[in-house]
């Protein structure tokens, strides 16, 4: 289908984009990669009066390293993250997750900021950011603030971002020695949104796991941190008993709803299967 009519502005700087957002309020939508927004406009699920294109604003794209963080500009595309040497070195989890996002042509346009703002619980970046304990830099005309990924996602497609705010960057804490990581998901076809997926981080020392973090894709209304399973694995050698306890803890950690093909029980089962596979791969 075709979208209903709207007007379009290509913002040349952040202040201009923020001022337009304040002026038009709910009638305006930020346009980043467009890989979600234009699809929803085409289906007439949304009909804003204004699209504010932020893709030409300088400084919102690219990957840099500071003393404390790996900083990914909001407009950085899925593809750029997939291919980044800095990401491979400092947050390999993101490089492992990227190929699971949609398809090449969509990864060329879609941005990490758009994915975080849209907050699809079945999307890869939000769950990775929760596992990595990333924080988001959020800008309004009145100033800048930072929010932890672990509190940003509030409900289904609901986030801490207000309508007049723009996400400008994702900041991932730098570790002296990056943890090992594994990303796995189950989907009916390659590139489809995941039925369920897992992002696992941890250190392995003489067979024992430490600094474990587990993020789940598609296992609740938001991306989830599986704190019970993390506690069950922390400091342990992942033998059959420990794995069984971690998998059992997922019952409390996760709260998947059913979709057209999979019941909540199926998703819970698949989430446990994935956890075991991911831990074994992390140890391998």
């Amino acid at each position: 289908m075709k979208p209903s009519p709207f007007d379009y502005v290509r913002a040349t700087n952040l202040t201009e984009a923020l001022a337009l957002l304040e002026r038009h309020g709910e009638q305006a939508q930020i346009l980043a990669g467009g890989q979600t927004l234009i699809a929803t406009l085409n289906m007439r699920l949304s009909a804003p009066d204004w699209l504010i294109d932020i893709t030409r604003i300088p400084g919102l794209s690219g990957i840099t390293l500071t003393e404390t963080h790996l900083v990914i500009g909001a407009l950085t595309t899925h593809r750029e993250i997939e291919r980044s040497a800095l990401v491979a070195q400092y947050a390999p989890l993101l490089g492992q997750a990227a190929p699971h996002i949609a398809h090449a042509a969509i990864r060329n346009s879609g941005t990490i900021g758009g994915s975080i703002a849209f907050a699809d619980p079945a999307a890869e970046w939000p769950a990775c950011c929760v596992a990595l304990d990333a924080r988001f830099v959020i800008q309004a005309l009145s100033g800048e603030r930072r929010v932890s990924a672990r509190t940003f996602f509030r409900g289904l497609y609901d986030t801490d971002r207000a309508a007049h705010e723009i996400i400008t960057a994702i900041e991932i804490p730098r570790e002296r020695a990056p943890r090992r990581s594994v990303f796995m998901e189950l989907a009916r076809r390659h590139g489809d949104y995941a039925i369920v997926g897992v992002a696992l981080l941890g250190r392995v020392d003489q067979g024992r796991l430490s600094d474990v973090a587990i993020g789940y894709v598609g296992a609740g209304a938001t991306p989830l941190l599986a704190q019970g399973a993390m506690a069950a694995l922390e400091g342990q050698a992942a033998d059959a008993d420990v794995l069984a306890r971690a998998k059992a803890a997922l019952a409390q950690d996760l709260d998947p709803s059913g979709d057209l093909y999979n019941s909540p029980a199926t998703k819970r089962h698949l989430a446990a299967v994935l956890l075991e596979r991911a831990v074994k791969q992390l140890l391998a």
């Binding site: 075709k2 467009g34 890989q35 398809h103 090449a104 042509a105």
Partner: protein
Amino acid sequence: MTLPEAEITLTVNGRSVRRRVEPRQHLIDFLREGLDLTGSHVGCEHGVCGACTVRVDGRIVRGCLMLAVQAAGCSVETIEGVSESGELADLQSAFHQRNALQCGYCTPGMLLCAAELLETTPNATRAQIREHISGNYCRCTGYQAIVDAIETTLTARRAGRTAD
């Protein structure tokens, strides 16, 4: 109500084009209806099928998930442009030889998608080929012949490269 319009200038297949467009017009509709470049197709109009694949500033995009206004200042290439330049002649001939098309609806998008793989991953395996074209649906061929044609071209290009 008068509908909003915007004037855009962009390069299409190497030629500069200036037009007035409605902001809501998709790039793919602009190319097909505004410029009569009907080689690229429209299928699902929500990013799923890949029939509308075109190149913008050298990378493949969904023509139905990009607005014509967004392409202002960009360089757009369609199947007409790359056919004319001969850039994909070997791939096109491999598609022909391997029967990698029947109705041809998916073919322009499939070719541009495959071209990106040929360029970025010269050593791609069959699994990587399948993964790369996973966003381009073909309702006729069952994909096997398409994967064959891309693999043949990859192999021939590698051989050509070492022969140089």
